[in-house]
C-alpha cells in the first residue's frame, strides 16, 4: 500500500504547508496558553480559580450548556425524525434552515433573541405574564444555547435514522410489540451513540459560546456571567495571567468532558453490539 501511494507527487510540499500552518495558528498559540499559565505559582493558580466569581461563572456556564444540550436531545430528535420519516410540504427548505445557527453570525443571533425574549418582546411578554423573566437570566442563556446547539443534534441523528433497517421495526411490530416498545427496544439503541455525539458537540459549543449569549445574559456577576465573558473582562482589566488560567481551566474541563462522553459512547456501542 505505502509502496503504491508513494507514486503520487506533492507529499513534501503539502505536508510542509500543513504543518507550518497548524504550528503557526494552533500549536504555538496553545503552547503560549500553557506556558503563560505555568509562570504562575500553584498558590496564585489556586487563588485565581477558587475565586467565588470564577466558580459562579463556571457553574452558570456548565448548567446552562448542559440544560440546553439536554433539551436539544429531544427537540433535535423530533425534528430529525419528522424530516427523515414523514412527508412534509417544503421539506427541503425546512431542512436547509436547520443549519441557520451555523450560518447566522452569533452577534445577530444574540441581539435578535434578546429582543424576542425581553419582557416586552414578542415571546418575552407571554413569559412575563407568567411571572418568568427570560432575558438577562440563566434561562435566557439556555435559550440562546438551544438555538446554537440544535443543528448539532439534528445533523448527527439524521444520517443514522436514514440508515436504520426498517425491516427490524416491521418485524418488531408484527411480533406484537407496541409502538412504544418498538421505539424503546428497536429504534432507540442504535440512535444512542449519535445522540451522545450530538449532545457532546452541542455541550462543548455551549461552554465556549460568546456572541449569542452576552446580549441575552445580562452579565450579572455571580448570577448570569459566563466563563468566556469572564475571560474577556479579565483581559479588559489587563489581568492577562487571570484570563489565561481561566481559559486553560475551561479548555481542560471541556476536554475531560469530551473524553467522558467518548468513553460512554464506546460503552453503549459495545453494549448494544453495534459498530
Amino acid at each position: 500500500m505505502s509502496q503504491r501511494r508513494s507514486l503520487l507527487p506533492g507529499f513534501g510540499l503539502s505536508l510542509g504547508v500543513t504543518v507550518f500552518t497548524v504550528s503557526l495558528l494552533v500549536l504555538i498559540p496553545l503552547l503560549a496558553l500553557v506556558t503563560k499559565s505555568a509562570e504562575l505559582s500553584l498558590g496564585e493558580l489556586w487563588h485565581t480559580l477558587a475565586d467565588r466569581r470564577v466558580l459562579a461563572a463556571f457553574r452558570v456556564s456548565f448548567s446552562t450548556a448542559f440544560a440546553a444540550a439536554f433539551l436539544n436531545l429531544f427537540l433535535g430528535l423530533i425534528v430529525a425524525w419528522v424530516l427523515v420519516r414523514y412527508p412534509l410540504p417544503l421539506k427541503r427548505a425546512w431542512d436547509s434552515l436547520i443549519d441557520l445557527p451555523f450560518a447566522l453570525p452569533t452577534a445577530v443571533a444574540g441581539i435578535v433573541l434578546t429582543t424576542l425574549y425581553s419582557p416586552n418582546g414578542w415571546l418575552g411578554q407571554f413569559f412575563a405574564e407568567l411571572g418568568i423573566r427570560v432575558a438577562f437570566t440563566p434561562l435566557g442563556i439556555t435559550i440562546a444555547l438551544i438555538f446554537i446547539g440544535l443543528p448539532f443534534v439534528v445533523r448527527t441523528v439524521e444520517p443514522v435514522l436514514q440508515d436504520l433497517d426498517r425491516q427490524q421495526e416491521e418485524a418488531s411490530t408484527s411480533l406484537g410489540a407496541s409502538r412504544w416498545q418498538t421505539f424503546r427496544r428497536v429504534l432507540l439503541p442504535p440512535l444512542v451513540p449519535a445522540l451522545l455525539t450530538g449532545f457532546s458537540l452541542a455541550f462543548a459549543r455551549g461552554l465556549g459560546e460568546y456572541g449569542s449569549v452576552i446580549f441575552i445574559a445580562g452579565n450579572m456577576p455571580m448570577k448570569s456571567e459566563i466563563v468566556p465573558l469572564l475571560i474577556v473582562t479579565k483581559l479588559e482589566q489587563y489581568n492577562y495571567p487571570g484570563a489565561t488560567v481561566i481559559a486553560l481551566a475551561s479548555l481542560v474541563v471541556a476536554f475531560v468532558m469530551l473524553l467522558i462522553i467518548n468513553g460512554l459512547q464506546q460503552w453503549t456501542r459495545q453494549r448494544t453490539g453495534r459498530d
Partner: protein, 292 residues
C-alpha cells in the same frame, strides 16, 4: 474526533410514508417539529427584518449608508478575502497529505486541525494577545517596527484564520479518502505532471466538496464575533468589522440601526444556506452518476 465528520452535511434522503405509523402520532410530531423550526429558526429571521424597518425605510437606508457601516463592510470583506483563499489552499494541502499518504503523526495532525472547532472563540482571540500583545512574546518587536498586530488588521486576520481553519480541510479529507487514489495514480503512471494531475483529475472530483467548505468558511469568516472582538479593540472606522459594528450600535441603544446592519449579515446567512443546498444537490448527483 471522527465523530463530527458528517455533522455539517445532511445525508441524502428518501421519503417514506410508513404504512404502520399511527396518523395522530404523525400529525402531532410533524406539528411539533414545525413549531420548533418556526419558533427557533424562522421567528428570529423575521424579527431581524421587522426591527430593522421599525423606524421606517429612511432610517434603514441611513444606517446602511453610514460611513462607519461602510468601513465595517469593507473591513469584513478584506478579512474574508485574505482568510478564505489562504484557508482554501491550506485545506487542499492538508487533505492531500492526510488522505493520500501514510505517515507518523497523521492522526495527531488531523486532531490538531479539528481543534479550533472545540476551542471557545474568546480563547482563540486570547492566545494571539499572549503572543502578539504589548506584553506578549513578540508584541514589542512587531509594534516597534511599525507593524502592530493586536488591535489591527493582522490580529483580526489571525483570529479569523484560527476559527475557520478546519472548514475546508474537514470537508475534503473524508471525501478524498472515500474516492481513493487510483485515478490520480493512473494519471501519474501515464506520464502526467503533478500540476496536470491536480487540474484534470483531483480538482474536478473534489470541486463540490471544496465549494461547500469554502462557503461555510466564508460565512464564519465574515460573521466571527468572539475571537475578533478580543483582538480588534473596537476602534470605529479602523478595526470594526460588521458583527462588531452591530454590537456597538446595539450597546448605544441604536436598536434600529443595529438591526439594519444585522440584515446584511442575516442576508449573508440566507445566501450561504441557499448555495449550500444547491451544492449538496449537485454533489449528490455527482455521486449518483459516479456510482451508476
Amino acid at each position: 474526533m471522527s465523530t463530527t465528520q458528517n455533522i455539517l452535511r445532511p445525508a441524502q434522503r428518501t421519503d417514506m410514508a410508513p404504512a404502520e405509523s399511527i396518523p395522530w402520532v404523525r400529525y402531532a410530531l410533524s406539528t411539533l417539529a414545525l413549531l420548533i423550526i418556526a419558533l427557533f429558526l424562522i421567528l428570529p429571521l423575521v424579527a431581524v427584518l421587522f426591527e430593522a424597518f421599525r423606524e421606517g425605510v429612511g432610517a434603514y437606508v441611513d444606517a446602511i449608508t453610514d460611513p462607519y457601516t461602510g468601513h465595517a463592510i469593507l473591513l469584513t470583506l478584506i478579512t474574508a478575502l485574505i482568510c478564505v483563499p489562504l484557508n482554501t489552499l491550506f485545506g487542499i494541502a492538508a487533505a492531500w497529505c492526510i488522505a493520500r499518504f501514510q505517515f507518523p503523526g497523521r492522526s495527531l495532525l488531523t486532531t490538531l486541525i479539528d481543534l479550533p472547532f472545540s476551542v471557545s472563540p474568546v480563547i482563540a482571540g486570547l492566545v494571539f494577545i499572549l503572543i502578539f500583545g504589548s506584553q506578549g512574546w513578540f508584541g514589542g518587536w512587531f509594534a516597534g517596527h511599525g507593524f502592530p498586530i493586536i488591535f489591527a488588521l493582522p490580529g483580526i486576520v489571525l483570529a479569523t484564520m484560527f476559527v475557520t481553519l478546519p472548514f475546508v480541510a474537514r470537508e475534503l479529507i473524508p471525501l478524498m479518502q472515500e474516492q481513493g487514489a487510483e485515478q490520480e495514480e493512473a494519471s501519474i503512471m501515464l506520464g502526467a505532471s503533478a500540476w496536470r494531475m491536480f487540474w484534470t483529475i483531483t480538482l474536478p472530483r473534489i470541486k463540490w466538496g471544496l465549494l461547500y467548505g469554502i462557503i461555510l468558511c466564508n460565512a464564519r469568516a465574515m460573521g466571527e464575533f468572539g475571537a475578533v472582538s478580543v483582538v480588534s479593540g473596537h476602534i470605529r472606522g479602523a478595526t470594526n468589522t460588521l458583527p462588531l459594528h452591530v454590537e456597538i450600535l446595539y450597546n448605544e441603544y441604536q436598536f434600529s440601526a443595529a438591526f439594519a446592519v444585522a440584515t446584511l449579515l442575516a442576508g449573508l446567512a440566507i445566501v450561504t444556506l441557499i448555495i449550500k443546498s444547491i451544492v449538496e444537490w449537485r454533489q449528490q448527483r455527482q455521486w449518483e452518476n459516479a456510482s451508476s
